[in-house]
Symmetry: C2
Subunit: 218 residues, 2 copies
């Protein structure tokens, strides 16, 4: 792609995100987006076949930004709770101005068969990258992870992150303060439970967790 | 309501549920429902102002059935795992033939502000009833519940049930076998964790859980 084409493409994404924010996702048409970006409707369709492709471009942009910022944020500290807080906090701050878009997306994204679902096939590479951030956060942190949990724990933390994002999307408290309270409290609990999971008495719990996860994710 | 009116009302609900199952919720109109029930469209609107009210009637019917069946199912056994399995299993079996309707409902129900959301204000009495079933299951079961968790645990179990139902709605394995595996495995884990939660070493975990729940549910 030429520099000029790349610039036009980015301008269309910017225009789309602004319209999704101001008018709403369902209420915005490709024609609106083209007009706001100052290109012909046909040109907009040349870059993006649908609004869905524009959402995918938003996902990619967020992932790319996280790829740049995440290592430094995680590397700042060896405290596991702080590392997890930084990883999830980055996602929430990236989404902050797109809350309205996410409310529209959650309705379609809850279905794993939808191409824009975070649980679906089409978004697998982005999901894997997000899971890897949790793998990095666990690696070299100040909490010993039982060997048998190392492979699965990043997946569970990702699922937990999705729960926090879901809560945040519908959190109507001023400045989404409740999400912050929930994140602080549950991260504290999670880190405590990870620590406890190393105890010999937790052996049966670890094994039951693992075989359940394996059986349902095949 | 006269016996005849009651009978007509039930016939309209039956017709609606059959159409939601065969055609889908979004694709069914009040006119279709009236025709299938053998009443004039105006008569259908006399009983139900919208399809949404018909869904609420479906919720009520399910709750009423559970009210009759639940005590006997829970009372059969003092084993907590079996009691919880019976309570959640009943809900899943009630929903079994309405999976298609639930797929449509999950998209709107995920938003707590929607009147049909299980998390919303309008469904609070039904939610409370469902939470009470978990309270009854815990009461007199073979597992000691730490005193400080007694008030909140039924709410958490209800939230867990919602997670299982969500997984089930999108479970494409034959006969939704994966949901059964997930239910068995996670119930085993939950009962193990409830048992462990009585240990003195779990005191800080219990307190952190409680103050987080209180802070976010105010």
């Amino acid at each position: 792609m030429t520099a000029k084409a790349e610039e036009t493409r980015e301008r269309i994404v910017d225009a789309a995100l602004q319209l999704f924010r101001e008018k709403g996702f369902d209420e915005t048409t490709m024609r609106d987006i083209a007009a706001a970006a100052g290109v012909a409707t046909g040109a907009a369709y040349y870059y993006f076949r649908s609004k869905e492709e524009l959402v995918m471009a938003f996902y990619m942009r967020t992932a790319e930004e996280a790829r740049t910022l995440m290592p430094e944020l995680i590397g700042r500290n060896t405290d596991l709770r702080k590392r997890l807080h930084a990883a999830i906090g980055l996602k929430l701050s990236q989404f902050a101005e797109h809350r309205r878009l996410l409310i529209a997306l959650v309705r379609i994204g809850i279905d794993p068969k939808h191409p824009l679902s975070p649980f679906g096939r089409e978004t697998a590479p982005l999901r894997e990258e997000s899971i890897d951030a949790f793998r990095d956060a666990l690696e070299g942190a100040n909490v010993k992870i039982p060997k048998e949990l190392r492979a699965e724990l990043p997946n569970l933390l990702w699922l937990y992150q999705m729960g926090i994002i879901l809560f945040w999307i519908f959190d109507e408290s001023p400045g989404q303060k409740k999400t912050e309270t929930l994140l602080d409290g549950t991260l504290d609990l999670i880190v405590r439970l990870i620590r406890l999971s190393s105890l010999p008495l937790m052996g049966p719990v670890r094994r039951r967790l693992l075989n359940t996860l394996r059986a349902v994710t095949v």
